[in-house]
Amino acid sequence: MRQGRYRFIVGALAGPIVLYAVLVLWPYLQSFYVSLTDWSGYTSERRLIGLANYERLLKDPVFWISLRHNLLAAVVLPVFSIGLGLFFATMLNVAGRAKKAAVQGVRGASFYRIVYFFPHLLSIAVIGVLWSFVYDPTGNGLLNGFLGLIGIDPVNWLGSTKTAYWAILAVIVWVSVGFYVLVFTAAIGSIPPDMYEAAMLDGASRWRIFWRITVPLIWDTVQVALVYAGINALDMFAIVNVMSAAGGSGGPNNSTQVLGNYIYLTAFEHGRFGYATALGVALFVVTIFLAVITLRFMRRDRVVY
């Protein structure tokens, strides 16, 4: 079926691309220009200063600290949230007892599927408030109170430079696992059930089914989830902003500082839009670079069935 192919492609893409270009790409392109200026963000005047903002960036210790934190997250978060998400999705959708040769999830699967999604319903503000009660540094906190039961002294989760960043990463895992469960649930739903039934009849172990059927058949989705988790790890603005301090200092002493939050502070607190935009461009370049590498590295032949 060749005829009308290009007409269809053009017809399908024209509208969305125009909308996207005008409302998203064009503003971003203007931002790229701003990164070459000394714009404060609050006048109609801006002066071109060439690459001075980028020079400043290379010498800015906070930029490097933030970048290091982002990269750490880009390694840690996908492993935990996607690992858990994939595990739960498998349990909930195909790990149940095989009855009448039909695959199904464990008992109560739909209950779990609904519950796991709860953190996503909470707005970022309540996540901040909620976890400040969980991480309360005295023995009254939920977490410290629990640790107290097994004889561990209260930990100053968000107040110590050693634990604060990890405490925030844990919150992100907590929020995002449900997201990946849902994403993988949808993907697993598109796998023809007879593939599982055939494998089960052959006596393949669950473990084997997971690696030989589930993962290859939803590979595109896993890959996308990994890239998406990586992109989120390079953002993290909202969560750091609500959890590090009122107004999001990235503290204590930049120990939870990430690029997104640093850009925000630079633009809105310090009135340096030009420099903030240069930081944003740097973040963009790093993200695109990592996304392309991941997509390349993870590419597998499509399973056609």
Partner: protein, 305 residues
Amino acid sequence: MSVHSQPRALDPNHPVPAEPARRSGRDQADLGGRTLNVFSHAFLLTWAVLVILPLLWTVLNSFKSDDEILTSAWSLPGSFSLDSFVRAWTTANIGQYFLNTAVVVSLGVFLTLGLGSLVAYVIARYPFPGNRVIYFLFVAGLTFPVFLAIVPLFFVARSLQLANSLPGLALIYTAYYLPFAVFFLTAYFRTLPDSIADAAFIDGCGHWRTFFWVMLPMARPGMISVGIFVTIGQWNQFLLPLVLQTDPDKYVIAQGLASLAVSQEYASDWSGLFAGLTLSMIPVLVVYIVFQRQIESGMVAGAVK
């Protein structure tokens, strides 16, 4: 990672009884399955508790008095009071903003899914020169902090008459959520089997008809899961309306909640804050549960096909 370590964790003492005599593959799979079930049920349940607690906590706190919230954060409310709900409803104008938000989000989600699935379908299934470029153009939209584009966007929106207009805001939401929809739906369309689309073409369906009558119905679980995320994202969206909707008649719910959150910072109206959050959570929760059922029935439909 946790997935990976499963089989060893299952049976640390037995030196790999993995494939001893291969008596009956089926028995063995069941045996492994049973151990796995006990182990994984415990795990599933733990995670469920971890996510249910905070939600419960939010709802409970909305019934408490302010000093109860701060001094005994994890106890039951002394008496159930609906005051805070009334206060949230009136001071945060939640009723009026509810309606605005519903209009914007339903239109926004509809457009995002419609346009996003079209783009994703074309990218996933029609190789053509520039295909990857368009794909990465959309992926790039995920990687740049929105707040850096907000000033140029304001001027674009104003000149196109999109500011202070509910349909205008829906259009802007659509543009900003397209990258997410395209990214996930592209992967999803790739996982769908080719055979059915091919059959449709052979039957003489055109490109548009194939998309609407064959591919879209097959993609339902994916569409719904992406739809859920887009709904939640747009429901909670704060930055875009803050800058673009300055007319109080056009405010959305996130703006009302923000004013509650701010007044709580100064005057400790915590119960009002939690009541507002509970109120704003309910519609999303309802939508989610309804669509969660849809995903499940989508999976059943998949099983039939």
